[in-house]
């Protein structure tokens, strides 16, 4: 795409590649806490229970295709960040002792989303402005155990989401 040569765009990509790595590190830290404190560590031990939980999973297929469009991919990344921002409230309730870690993650996600939004606006691409306060209703769980497993899968899905987003940004940076 014609963006590849643009100096500002490259700076945006370099910065937000590092930012995404930081966020992935934040999520990994939370996953370690869930493993250490809730003893929920291996996804393949929880597949049966997962079938009973409706866990948010943000689509990112626009960033998968070899010839993806930056605009649609960026929009999907932002939409996904918004969905996971809401689901983090579930994690906050699970890990009261680690509110700081969750708050850092939420601040980083909000910043990454607005960084992408500003870059899209700089490129005259259409953008959506999400309300700062998340209005989506929190998922309800039929038991404390399901709530914990739900939290585990939200983090696992979000980590996969970030890996895909990271590969998309890296792909753009390599053009």
């Amino acid at each position: 795409t014609e963006l590849s040569g643009d100096q500002d765009f490259q700076l945006f990509l370099q910065r937000n590649l590092e930012f995404t790595r930081k966020i992935r590190g934040d999520v990994a830290a939370l996953q370690r806490v869930v493993c250490d404190t809730l003893q929920l560590c291996k996804e393949d031990e929880l597949l049966l229970v997962r079938q009973h939980l409706d866990i948010a999973q943000a689509p990112l297929e626009q960033c998968h295709k070899r010839t993806f469009q930056a605009e649609t991919c960026f929009s999907q990344i932002r939409a996904g960040l918004h969905i996971y921002q809401g689901s983090l409230a579930t994690i906050q309730a699970l890990l009261p002792g680690h509110a700081g870690l969750v708050e850092t993650l939420q601040l980083d996600m909000a910043n990454l989303s607005s960084n992408i939004q500003q870059q899209m606006e700089d490129l005259d691409l259409a953008t959506v402005t999400y309300p700062t306060e998340n209005q989506d209703p929190l998922p309800t769980f039929s038991s404390h155990f399901h709530h914990q497993v739900g939290g585990f899968f939200i983090l696992a899905n979000f980590q996969r989401f970030l890996e895909t987003a990271y590969r998309a940004l890296r792909h753009l940076a390599s053009l």
């Binding site: 809730l38 003893q39 929920l40 393949d44 031990e45 929880l46 597949l47 049966l48 229970v49 079938q51 009973h52 939980l53 409706d54 998922p139 309800t140 769980f141 039929s142 038991s143 404390h144 155990f145 399901h146 914990q148 739900g150």
Partner: protein
């Protein structure tokens, strides 16, 4: 989310340490997508250790496994109900169990009223750890059992300060510590004190020491009482000794407000060290002495040559 395919119930989530724990896991096959065919084998894990349960068929096609742990000696553990599925161990249910003791009786409750802000700071000994979340609160009430106020110690501390606005001064208050957890409540002895009785005074300040009346073995001392105690009836004590004396000589029953006192029987030409302390002149045995005042030395004058 739908109701899970398994549910775990325990006798009680909080038990006395070392007592028995019973649990049962019920697996509803038709609710477990993927478990419809084949035998359901239920297995238990205590944290990450396999433990054996006894499985039987339950009502309505359910499989039930019961587990008894005769002596539960973890203060905190997770009991996992698992089933085999596609060759993997699936965790399908969990219960958190905590074990500990009822709270120990808080001991040696003592309080001090700080005269700079009239806050009543009380401290106590918490006793053995109950291993359970325990809420500890200092309670105090005016003697006619009006409203109970008090204060809450910070996490892990066994002291706190009741602010002035929650205190009744110059009147008996009942003060005690109450500790509560899932296995019970324990209360300390109840102190019945007037907060003023445990006022912590600053020491008096020895202002002057002189050989008066002149040419005698007597000494007159003058002192100032601590700021903020002008309105109080104070009884004070004076102690003095010459450097070579082994013990202090003690003069008791000095009225604080007098401001001066005279004492005779001192050796001539000898250096003495003087200190003074005071406390409120109240009936209570709990009244705290102030610290001893900073030491003041004074050397008595030489004996005048007689028969001049």
């Amino acid at each position: 989310g739908t109701l899970g395919c398994a549910s775990v119930t325990v006798g009680s989530p909080i038990v006395p340490l070392g007592s028995a724990v019973t649990a049962s896991c019920t697996v509803q096959r038709e609710l477990c997508r993927g478990l419809e065919q084949g035998k359901v084998r239920i297995r238990w894990m205590l944290d990450n250790k396999l433990v054996a349960g006894s499985q039987r068929q339950g009502p309505g096609g359910t499989e039930v496994s019961n587990l008894t742990l005769p002596r539960f000696n973890h203060t905190q553990a997770r009991l996992w109900c698992c089933v085999e599925w596609n060759g993997t161990k699936q965790r399908v249910g969990m219960a958190e169990i905590r074990a500990g003791y009822p709270p120990a009786k808080p001991l040696n409750l003592s309080c001090v009223l700080n005269l700079s802000d009239y806050g009543l700071t009380c401290q106590w000994e918490q006793g053995t750890d109950s291993h359970l979340p325990t809420s500890v609160v200092l309670k105090c009430t005016g003697s006619r059992a009006q409203e109970v106020t008090g204060c809450t110690p910070r996490e892990g501390h066994s002291h706190c300060t009741v602010p002035r606005r929650l205190l009744q001064l110059y009147r008996q208050m009942e003060i005690w510590v109450s500790a509560t957890n899932a296995l019970g409540t324990a209360e300390s002895e109840h102190l019945c004190i007037d907060p003023m009785d445990v006022a912590k005074l600053d020491p008096p300040t020895l202002q002057s020491i002189q050989s008066i009346p002149f040419q005698t073995d007597c000494i007159t001392l003058a002192w100032d009482l601590a700021w903020g105690t002008e309105h109080m009836e104070l009884q004070c004590e004076l102690r003095y000794r010459a450097p070579e004396d082994s013990a202090w000589a003690l003069v008791t029953g000095i009225s604080g407000r007098a401001g001066t006192a005279q004492r005779c029987g001192f050796l001539f030409g000898t250096q003495y060290h003087f200190q003074m302390r005071c406390r409120r002149n109240s009936a209570s045995a709990l009244a705290h002495w102030s610290e001893w005042s900073p030491c003041r030395s004074y050397t008595t004058h030489e004996k005048a040559p007689t028969g001049k």
